[in-house]
Symmetry: C2
Subunit: 355 residues, 2 copies
């Protein structure tokens, strides 16, 4: 293919091959950390009552009404909020806005797989710091000189969270760079550092509607920070796409944010199912990290993760296996409904008892 | 503000100040090239029948069902189609994927204002070629050595289109770079070069749902090209955001594409209103370019564009004035309904007769 001169100007990136999507509706999908419950009832009302005619107009620039709804929910001002197409878009925008140092940014070795990808794409130098044997992050590893820090709390796929002491320690030792705390799973956890944005002018907190708010299908993510930082993210976003969120994403997002009671009830239901499932996996001999997320991270001492993954898949339950250093004997299992988890546990029990 | 060390790593970009959005619903908005008619009736059916529960799941990766619907409509394969969040996102993705030469890319001096912005953001060198006195693009200007070409057809804000001879001439003289033809307005025009993608492996054609398909609120844009080029755009998009379009954008888009009859009827209605309005502006003494779009580009020999803009604004009709070299005595007027255009023409006539 090399004879074509235009090929030499192509971006240096591997063309992507999309993953397999199961089409069989009987499959129990516990591999994407989706929420098993529907979004808030107000979301259905938005769809039922929305006039299609209004879609002829451009949406609100910068999703202002959604920013206002989020600001109200979190006791902030709309100037503290940025909205993007899923937290991937929000994080990529923050990387672009803030990680322009010659020094490497730093994140844990076991973490969200997109961080190194964005670094490669945006030509941001980076280093990783190994989590310990128990997958815990050591805050002192992040005292090193760097061009920025990004840490998910709780971390994925380990499911482990850190508390306020860790975050303030991290921030106090990194006053000269931007620190991003990726809180994709925080609503299932114990500590959110959104409360710290007024104290630390270099802190960005990102969240998503895809997990706790059951709106993965709508691609909504947000960041919280002091207005100056938000204005830079907005400048980056606006410079390549004037209207970040479509009108229905804005309106369904607002309906979700405004129903606190429903939000709490589904989050609590998932946490209860999670804690019960964790006990059952431990009873079957699994190591299970203390999950502060909507998934479990588990490993069996005798049966390999790959074998368990393939066995449950064969039986119609998809869980997540990572063929990666340090975690290739671990599985990530999204918390489904009580019934879905019972089905999975029954299948895993069969496999173990067959030995 | 300079005492903070993290400021030195900020991206070098001006924080954006959002434009004024009129809240008064009586205003006639002819300043954003939106479609005055609702989207296809199938779009309303999607909203009315869509289960909110399904929004808990991630959308189709890479908007595959929408690609398939578009492929069918255009007699192509899904591998020839890329979908993004509005054609801004599609164009920015193409710039990133294909404009990585040290040589400057080239586009007309009077054209879509985002091209130089993306070049600045992505550090792409560029040069512009002046359109002639009548705002026509001279194809020979684009024979120069370059790192890529982008030309809107029809051009904006001039409203002027070019035909097949121009496009093939342009392509035949630029075999070594990627040529992007931005067809945002092409459905109101005379010639779309989508038919040429099978012949030219370096051609990318971009389009949008925001104008002819009345779906500006849903942020849907697409590109057509040979599969290799599409795969590079997909790789860029997927590397920073795995799920480009939300589920409702995919489904409303499909409903629009599948209703060819409605599409033709609204496009024809707008073209008829446009041609009638153009006559009336000419009758009032305006210079009016031959529009192949859903807007008019007009200039009066005696009354300045700025004054007309301010006068109609005062009377409740918003049109577009650009305070830019070469076009600062011209106005861009979106084609509204027959009634809206009559209202505007009446107001402009008052102003002219008052002199």
């Amino acid at each position: 293919m090399s004879e074509k001169a235009w090929r030499k100007n192509l971006i240096n990136i591997e063309p992507y091959v999309a993953g397999e999507q199961p089409k069989n509706e009987n499959i129990i999908k516990l591999n994407a950390n989706e929420n098993p419950y529907p979004p808030a009832p107000g979301v259905a009302k938005v769809l039922a009552s929305k006039s299609a005619t209004e879609l002829k107009k451009y949406p609100s620039a910068d999703a202002v009404p959604l920013k206002e709804a989020l600001a109200k929910r979190y006791g902030l001002s709309a100037e503290n909020v940025f909205c993007g197409n899923g937290s991937d878009d929000v994080l990529a925008t923050a990387f672009r806005a803030f990680f322009n140092s010659d020094k490497p940014i730093v994140f844990p070795d076991i973490t969200y797989s997109f961080y190194p990808v964005w670094c490669e794409l945006l030509k941001i130098p980076y280093i990783t710091k190994p989590v310990d044997e128990d997958f815990k992050i050591n805050v002192k590893d992040f005292y090193c000189e760097n061009g920025g820090v990004v840490i998910p709390n709780p971390n994925a796929p380990t499911a482990i969270g850190v508390g306020k002491d860790f975050i303030t320690d991290l921030l106090d030792n990194n006053p000269d760079v931007i620190v991003i705390i990726d809180e994709a799973y925080v609503d299932f956890g114990k500590y959110s550092c959104v409360e710290l944005i007024n104290k630390y002018d270099n802190l960005i907190v990102t969240q998503t509607f895809s997990k706790s708010r059951s709106l993965a299908g709508m691609r909504i993510g947000m960041a919280f920070a002091q207005p100056e930082l938000i204005s830079y993210m907005q400048a980056v976003k606006d410079s390549y796409n004037s209207y970040p969120l479509d009108q229905l994403a804005i309106e369904t997002g607002i309906a979700s944010v405004q129903d606190e009671e429903y939000f709490i009830s589904t989050v609590e239901k998932i946490k209860a199912t999670r804690d019960k499932s964790a006990q059952e996996f431990r009873a079957m001999g699994f190591k299970v990290t203390d999950s502060e997320t909507n998934f479990l991270f588990v490993s069996h001492p005798k049966i390999s993760a790959k074998e368990i993954f393939e066995y449950t898949r064969e039986k119609g339950v998809f869980i997540r296996y990572f063929n990666k250093p340090r975690i290739d004997n671990w599985l990530r299992i999204t918390i489904g409904t009580e019934e879905q988890m019972e089905t999975l546990i029954k299948i895993v029990k069969e496999l173990i008892e067959s030995r």
